[in-house]
């Protein structure tokens, strides 16, 4: 570990030197790196799909949709928009400040740390990296040790495509993370659990480092069957896709549980069963379209959640597990006990509890009683319910009539609130996430207002009063001596 500490310190020194040289600030450098990321993904498509299959059993189509394709898209957007993003934003100054000019310029923070997660080990590493590069920072990426093949791939491949004096990868687990957190960074970007998020934030406090935390939470899905009965087929497909079709539910924005009215629970379950069969066949373990559970530890965690007697009794579909293959069958629960662990921690696996309510309006209260989730999904055409969800609940994002797809919409900020995180990224927000907005005022020494300076008198007070009200006409009258000082 002493060696590791030295490596980290050495890397940090080198990155700071690179940043100080000013190289990473040029738009040209940023664009070259962004192009290199696209090239890297394109060149290594098969290799990347391989490592994702090894680590998570991800099908290559799923891998392309959620990771490779996403990264290419994100880098392309940054490349296309960078010229626009870096332009200083003009500010309006009050007339009184004439001839001064105001603007806000985005400057890179400096040397930043990105800690990524194992469930989307390529995209959750490269997407923040794209933001950090767009902002003109030097970056150290710590990939997750729980997806070792993807991690090793990134550590090996990134240096040969990107500027390795400015962008570095360090592999390792909690011990390496601890060493990294002891260093001073100019920004920390973390994707993971609230528990580790707290540790990161506390460590960052020592150096006053700004932090973005992308955490998770139990993302609820409301099914208002009254208003979407005609489209039930799509509803069920989208829910199933969002639960089992993306890393087997091991995603921070995947559907965690479903809220539905009692009367509609059994038809919904029947439709879900049919859809699961059409997606994954009669033997999902062999379908090749379902990711595996990432590790023994997580497998055992899911097993523990399911083995709670109350929870076990609520299984209406699936429930089989294979520890050797780290496989958990798509599983549906009907009304597991609300005080069970599975209803109080993020499930992060292919288990879908259906919670029944007497009236779908109760879903608002149900969601409000839990910590703020990263996303709320609602299938409804009822405008009143939509408004209630938007104004009464709080969450990172809300998506109506679909799940997870808000992640792909780079015009929307992606990030949590409360327990689901701090800060946001994607598209322009990624650039902002890794930039300090510096306020600039450019004045001139040619004109000066006597009223700004002591010694103070009542004329100056009157003048300033009017100036703050931007009452310029009266101001002129005052200066011409046409109104009395006391009239203000």
């Amino acid at each position: 570990m002493e060696d590791m500490k030295e490596t980290v310190e050495q890397s940090l020194r080198e990155m700071r030197e690179t940043f100080a040289s000013g190289r990473t600030r040029s738009v040209k450098w940023r664009k070259t790196q962004l192009r290199a990321i696209i090239e890297m993904v394109k060149d290594n498509e098969d290799k990347m799909c391989d490592v994702l299959f090894q680590d998570l059993g991800k099908h290559s189509t799923e891998a392309f949709r959620d990771e490779l394709g996403f990264v290419i898209r994100s880098a392309t957007t940054a490349l296309d928009c960078l010229d626009k993003w870096v332009v200083p934003r003009k500010s309006n100054l009050p007339l009184l400040f004439y001839p001064a000019k105001g603007k806000v310029i985005s400057e890179p923070y400096g040397t930043v740390l990105v800690m990524s997660s194992w469930n989307f080990p390529i995209s959750l590493s490269l997407d923040p990296l794209i933001g950090a590069i767009s902002g003109g920072n030097t970056v150290l990426l710590k990939s997750s040790e729980l997806s070792p093949n993807a991690s090793a791939f990134l550590a090996k491949t990134i240096p040969s495509y990107l500027d390795n004096k400015a962008i570095k990868v360090i592999e390792g687990g909690p011990d390496v993370a601890t060493i990294l957190l002891q260093q001073q960074w100019d920004k920390i970007f973390f994707t993971g659990s609230p528990k580790i998020g707290r540790i990161i934030l506390a460590a960052a406090a020592e150096h006053l480092t700004p932090v973005t935390l992308e955490l998770g939470g139990k993302c609820p899905t409301i099914v208002d069957h009254h208003s979407v009965s005609k489209d039930m087929k799509s509803v069920v497909k989208r829910i199933s896709g969002g639960k089992w079709g993306s890393c087997s539910g091991q995603a921070c924005i995947s559907v965690d549980y479903v809220l539905v009215e009692q009367s509609f629970a059994s038809p919904l379950i029947e439709m879900l069963k049919t859809t699961v069969k059409s997606f994954f066949g009669d033997n999902p373990k062999e379908s090749g379209c379902l990711s595996k559970i990432v590790s023994k530890k997580h497998f055992q965690r899911l097993a523990r959640l399911l083995n709670d007697p109350g929870v076990k009794a609520s299984i209406v579909y699936g429930g089989s597990m294979d520890e050797d293959k780290l496989f958990v069958e798509p599983t549906i629960l009907l009304d597991p006990p609300l005080d069970s662990e599975i209803m109080n921690e993020e499930i992060f696996g292919p288990i879908l509890p259906i919670i029944t309510l007497r009236d779908i309006q109760e879903s608002i209260g149900f969601i409000k009683s839990k910590p703020k989730p990263l996303a709320i999904y609602a299938f409804t055409k009822d405008e009143n319910l939509k408004t209630r969800i938007l104004s009464e609940t709080s969450s990172g994002s809300v998506t109506f009539n679909d799940v997870m797809i808000q992640y792909m919409c780079d015009a929307l900020p992606f990030g949590g609130v409360g327990e689901s995180g701090i800060g946001r990224y994607h598209g322009k927000y990624s650039f902002e996430c890794f930039s300090h907005e510096k306020a600039i005022m450019e004045g001139s020494l040619a004109m000066d207002l006597e009223a700004r300076y002591p010694p103070w008198n009542s004329f100056k007070l009157a003048f300033i009063r009017l100036a703050f009200r931007e009452a310029y006409f009266k101001l002129v009258l005052l200066m011409l001596g046409l109104i009395k000082v006391r009239d203000q």
């Binding site: 394709g69 896709g241 994002s397 998506t399 792909m408 409360g418 306020a439 020494l445 007070l461």
Partner: protein, 551 residues
């Protein structure tokens, strides 16, 4: 060392040690029982790690005394619980509630202008006009801006969606964070309390304000006025010092907005980490003013004086901390500064009504000891007189003090102005960059090239060219630090955003659902997806019909 100094040294050390040992779980309980831990400590010449040296003294308690606290953790918990219940009724979210509270603040400022100015005079001997410009008017205009713009700020922003999510529409909706805590500072005790509260109310939050106990008159006035003018079910003032602050910090907030020193800033952020609470830290730093030799010297000097002594007598986080100029030009600059000081504050500035005093004897002693350090006395070129019973120090200028002196290592936060000389003006950049990033950096020059270089190469919260401090009054500019000078920004719309969560909302329809997205996965699906993700409509259509562009 005096007894007080000794005490402080011990506590600083004690604090610094504690800080390092319990890095991830700062021992707040111990802070509660011994308030002097945060309150003490200015003699940082001891073995404190250098980055801890920069302290904005804005919230550090001056008096080392034992508190008997009436407001403890239990009461703080009850308070937050009550406000949360009231927030959850949804009342504070309505436009009507927000606007009525903002209007009440405006009304409060209008009606109580005199009381506010008096309280500021009691706490800081702040000249009435200075109080009016820097605090009362400034706060009022923020409030008026919020009233005028609130509808626009609250309106959801419609954004364009891409083909990947077609057909859909998207909005960004601002929502209040919940129950927020504002901890303010003593140097602009009215402005720094009310301005963040305006942002919090505009964004629809329930808010608790903890004004600084070091400006007691303003603190108790705020408590009185808030209960008189504002909705007490959702807006509260808690007065007190370290124990009360500690009790407050122990609670779960949805945002903490802190103005003060970097050291306490660290404590606030570490406390916030326990509950994943986002923080805004408005800290300070040594704000430099770099003066080139081709400038209109009189105007430059006046603006430096306005940004140093005219700004709460140097006790401001954005005040000019030190001046850098070329060796040849220094004496000219100092001469003009002297002349202008005389026009502003007369022959005997200790008697001037136009200067604030030092806030208390703790800070007076701290500043005095800066002047009494070895090798400082003979560097004084102007001023240097002190009056302990009046808590006054005359505007003091020093030339080329040793870099190792505490005056050049700590934020001065008082009426002392060191002038640092360099060979070439460009060398000044290096001086600035060798120190932690300041909250503001000032440059006086007509040289456009130098301006450009300064704006690009100097990292600071904000930059003013050819002026000092005024950039802060521009509501269209974000105000906040970077690195050691803080995190997060506010003022104008930025205040609103600071206290809001930007919720992404995507509306999808059921039309045009394609099986592409769903398992079972086939090579064809992958091909179409590939084209879709790169927004290649043509490719997507081709792939959909089974053709590949590559083949």
């Amino acid at each position: 060392m005096t007894k007080l100094q000794l005490l402080n040294t011990n506590h600083t050390l004690c604090f610094a040690k504690g800080f390092y040992r319990y890095r991830t779980r700062l021992n707040l309980a111990s802070l509660a029982t011994s308030p002097n831990l945060i309150s003490g400590g200015y003699s940082s010449k001891t073995c404190i790690p250098s980055r801890l040296k920069f302290t904005c003294y804005a919230t550090l308690s001056a008096v080392v005394k034992n508190h008997t606290s009436a407001f403890d953790g239990k009461e703080a918990a009850l308070l937050v619980e009550e406000l949360r219940v009231n927030f959850n009724t949804g009342r504070a979210k309505s436009y009507e509630w927000r606007i009525s509270q903002l209007q009440n603040i405006a009304k409060m400022i209008d009606e109580k202008e005199r009381c506010i100015a008096q309280a500021l005079y009691q706490d800081l001997s702040k000249p009435e006009l200075e109080a009016f410009i820097a605090e009362i008017s400034n706060t009022k205009s923020s409030c008026m801006l919020a009233i005028k713009e609130l509808k626009n700020w609250m309106a959801p922003e419609t954004v364009k969606t891409s083909m990947t999510t077609f057909p859909s529409s998207a909005q960004i909706v601002s929502e209040p964070l919940g129950v927020v805590l504002v901890i303010s500072a003593w140097n602009f005790p009215f402005l720094l309390s009310v301005e963040p509260v305006i942002g919090a109310i505009a964004a629809g939050n329930a808010v608790v304000l903890k004004p600084s106990e070091i400006a007691p008159a303003t603190s108790s006035l705020l408590a009185k006025l808030f209960s008189e003018y504002l909705d007490n079910t959702t807006i509260r003032v808690i007065e007190g010092g370290v124990p009360e602050t500690t009790a407050l910090l122990d609670q779960r907030w949805d945002k903490i907005f802190f103005t003060g020193g970097a050291r306490v800033g660290r404590i606030v952020m570490a406390a916030a980490a326990k509950n994943l609470t986002p923080v805004v830290l408005e800290l300070g730093g040594k704000c430099p003013a770099l003066v080139d030799s081709d400038v209109n010297l009189q105007v430059a000097a006046r603006r430096i004086i306005a940004g140093k002594w005219g700004c709460n007598n140097g006790q401001a986080c954005i005040g000019v901390d030190y001046v850098i100029t070329t060796k040849d030009y220094a004496s000219k600059l100092i001469d003009v500064l002297k002349t202008e000081l005389k026009t502003f504050f007369g022959e005997n500035p200790l008697e001037s009504q136009d200067l604030s005093r030092i806030v208390n004897s703790f800070h007076f002693k701290r500043l005095e000891s800066m002047l009494n350090e070895n090798g400082i006395a003979d560097k004084v070129v102007q001023g240097g007189q002190t009056s302990e019973d009046k808590l006054n120090i005359s505007p003091t200028i020093l030339l080329d003090v040793p870099e190792a002196s505490s005056m050049m290592q700590e934020e001065i936060f008082g009426p002392i102005l060191p002038v640092v000389t360099v060979q070439k003006i460009e060398d000044g950049f290096q001086v600035i960059r060798s120190k932690p990033k300041p909250l503001a950096a000032y440059l006086f020059t007509d040289n456009k090239e130098l301006q450009k270089q300064f704006v690009q190469d100097v990292s600071a919260g904000g930059i003013s060219i050819n002026d000092t401090v005024v950039h802060v009054t521009v509501k269209d500019l974000p105000f906040g630090g970077v690195g050691e000078s803080g995190l997060g920004a506010y003022h104008g719309k930025f205040s609103y955003e600071t206290f809001s969560h930007k919720k992404g909302v995507l509306y999808r329809s059921f039309a045009g659902d394609s099986d592409l997205r769903y398992p079972p996965y086939t090579p064809k699906k992958k091909m179409v997806l590939k084209a879709l993700l790169s927004s290649d409509i043509f490719g997507a259509i081709l792939a959909f019909f089974g053709f590949s562009k590559d083949s």
